[in-house]
């Protein structure tokens, strides 16, 4: 297993795999749900999927010649940690903005 540094894109991809999902379904859901706020190209998606499999964060099975991806227990743990980390960063930023507002400075 190759260790991986989870980027924003790999976190997004991993979060779509709570149920077994085809690669093209991941592409479609990322496109539809993010409404263009974060662009994920198909080659970027495919490369990240391969990295996530290599790191043991998700696995795939072949169903009718098509790969179905699913998050592993390790993947869930790592994703939870990443979500928590990002929550803290967000809370920190909100806190800083509130403090600035209290001082009458807008960020």
């Amino acid at each position: 297993m190759k260790p991986i540094e989870l980027t924003e894109i790999s976190c997004l991809i991993l979060s779509t795999m709570s149920a077994p999902t085809h690669g093209y379904e991941i592409m479609k859901s990322v496109e539809a749900d993010l409404e263009g706020r974060v662009s994920v190209g198909p080659a970027t998606l495919y490369t990240n999927l391969s990295k996530l499999v290599d790191a043991g964060l998700c696995v795939f099975t072949e169903v009718s010649n098509k790969k179905v991806y699913e998050i592993t227990t390790l993947g869930k743990t790592v994703l939870d940690q990443e979500v928590e980390k990002r929550r803290r960063i967000l809370a920190f930023m909100e806190n800083q903005m509130e403090k600035a507002l209290e001082k009458g400075v807008s960020l």
Partner: protein
């Protein structure tokens, strides 16, 4: 149905300041722009043969083209690209050409994934170049050992083989330099 061919300008490379100055087509980006211009004139790519793109005349279309690299093409890969708006056109070994409507999200939306792919390709060309260099060195040594001052049939054969190996070194070494240059450029962009 009318067909024509356009030479591939060297997919391993990025366009250079010199090619831009002289308005010469050079590298992957320039090739993709040219194919897009051809589509607007009604010429669509149907395949890659040898060192050229094969095009067929049809109705003008507003398309963009892009290239991706992958060792083995599979349906899953093509389906993901299709879901992203990219239609598979053709392949030449590990090089795959896709087309899409103008405005479609590019194949690569991050530098990291492009870097991963180009690093893999440059590793492949490093292996090819080193193999060709080894063959060239062995062939050159054998030529030297077989008394080159007495040019006989074997010496001549070895010299021809050495020259062929040298051509092989150039043809694998040039793309290697191109890919390594692009990898270094991307690494700089990522601050590595």
């Amino acid at each position: 149905m009318k067909t024509k061919r356009i030479a591939i300008s060297g997919l391993a490379f990025d366009s250079t300041w010199l090619s831009r100055l002289l308005h010469l087509r050079s590298g992957e980006e320039d090739d993709m722009k040219r194919l897009s211009e051809e589509a607007q004139k009604g010429w669509l790519v149907t395949g890659i043969k040898g060192m050229s793109y094969e095009l067929v005349q049809t109705a003008p279309q507003n398309l963009i083209y892009a290239i991706d690299y992958k060792e083995k093409l599979d349906q899953d890969y093509i389906d993901i690209f299709k879901a992203g708006g990219w239609e598979y056109v053709c392949s030449a070994e590990y090089i795959h050409l896709f087309k899409a409507k103008h405005g479609t999200t590019p194949l690569h939306t991050d530098i990291e994934s492009k870097l991963t792919i180009l690093t893999d390709v440059s590793k492949k060309f490093t292996r090819y170049t080193l193999t060709m260099l080894f063959v060239f060195a062995c062939s050159l040594a054998l030529s030297a050992l077989t008394a080159p001052w007495k040019i006989g049939f074997i010496t001549l054969l070895l010299l021809i083989f050495t020259l062929a190996a040298l051509v092989g070194v150039v043809f694998t070494g040039m793309p290697l330099m191109g890919y390594l240059g692009r990898v270094n450029k991307l690494k700089k962009q990522l601050g590595r």
